[in-house]
Symmetry: C2
Amino acid sequence: MAYTPSGKTREKIYDFVRERILSGIPPTTRDVQRAFGFRAVQSARQHLEKLVSEGKLAKVDGRSRGYRLPEFGKARPPQLIAMLGRVQAGELTEAMEDPPEYIMVQTRFDDDELFALAVEGESMLHAGILPGDIVIVRRQATASPGDIVVALVGDEATVKRYRERDGRVELHPENEAFSPIIPREDGAPFSLLGKVIEVRRSVE
Amino acid sequence: MAYTPSGKTREKIYDFVRERILSGIPPTTRDVQRAFGFRAVQSARQHLEKLVSEGKLAKVDGRSRGYRLPEFGKARPPQLIAMLGRVQAGELTEAMEDPPEYIMVQTRFDDDELFALAVEGESMLHAGILPGDIVIVRRQATASPGDIVVALVGDEATVKRYRERDGRVELHPENEAFSPIIPREDGAPFSLLGKVIEVRRSVE
DNA sequence: CCATAAAACAGACATTTGTCTGTTATGTCA
DNA sequence: TGACATAACAGACAAATGTCTGTTTTATGG
């Protein structure tokens, strides 16, 4: 490879490695060698080690594909959670779309206690939750007053704010056009699916 | 390792591999072997290959750490983008927090044309954007009417809806308590930083 | 209980990959 | 221009890792 000014190639190598790591798998030394047309492995290695000593990359010695992004060390690992869909026999089931949709999140919870859901109504408009928004939910059977929760009322999953009045559970919308749901009183079967921990909206 | 009923161990292996892939680096055959106490590499390999033929895992043959999640193939690769903060001399600069904050997103855009920003005011309340929300922004100098944009007005970055009236640009809040910003008219320096493509809110 | 499939084991080989020592060529800067 | 640092090259070794053939043990279903 042609000789390049100090640090120039290294920057490109950093970009390359970063890209690869984010795409899922760190490159090997020889991946870098080939990608940059080096005729010696050492050329790639030298740059990589320098990037490590500069703190721009982290590394696990001796292991294959041992290069990491330093940020990743501190950050919580990403989790892939399933988008749930239609309600079926009192249970939310995986959406029937052919390619099962997954969403990447980073939380302190286990990914098997999380699921995602597309919001349908406008009942939580004033809480900043719009139709089409994706809510990330942590499964739990209880909630504290003020929590935004997902509950199964009859056959439908709804997002509401959890309240208690006189020791009874109430599910409040945040939109004057809708009425609170007071379980037991109107005889509707009721079960708490979980608590909303994140809201996402794509506005492309 | 003790003999286990059909498919039992395989499930655990799948969970293990999945976990490792999401944490950043796929395991090696021998990683799996050790993790499950197999006394032969082949035991691990057999399970892994089976998972591949079942379609639960994908694989790049011959390469080290070649196991992938099939979803990843179709999905867009995750990107790490920087959280920007304070406004300085007309430019948004990286937030000064000690560990630079990054957010993981998946878009069709290049990560170097994206940045993230914490929303401060309440001016976009009715658009479902609350104080504290994180907006993901794509850098662009122009916008279409109806877009939600981030603009630098004076020394402050604001989120507003982009409108045009009589050929002039207007930045509209979505909250009656705030007034539209009409650049040029009131002489405020104005520059469009980009368009909001995603909104996120953590509600733990 | 038997036949069959699945799980686990044994041991080995080949490739990939990390690492090393030393050399040559090109930038950098006074 | 000359001294020095950096970039790139050469060739090799060793460890990590993927892969293979064959055998033994246990689960499974009639």
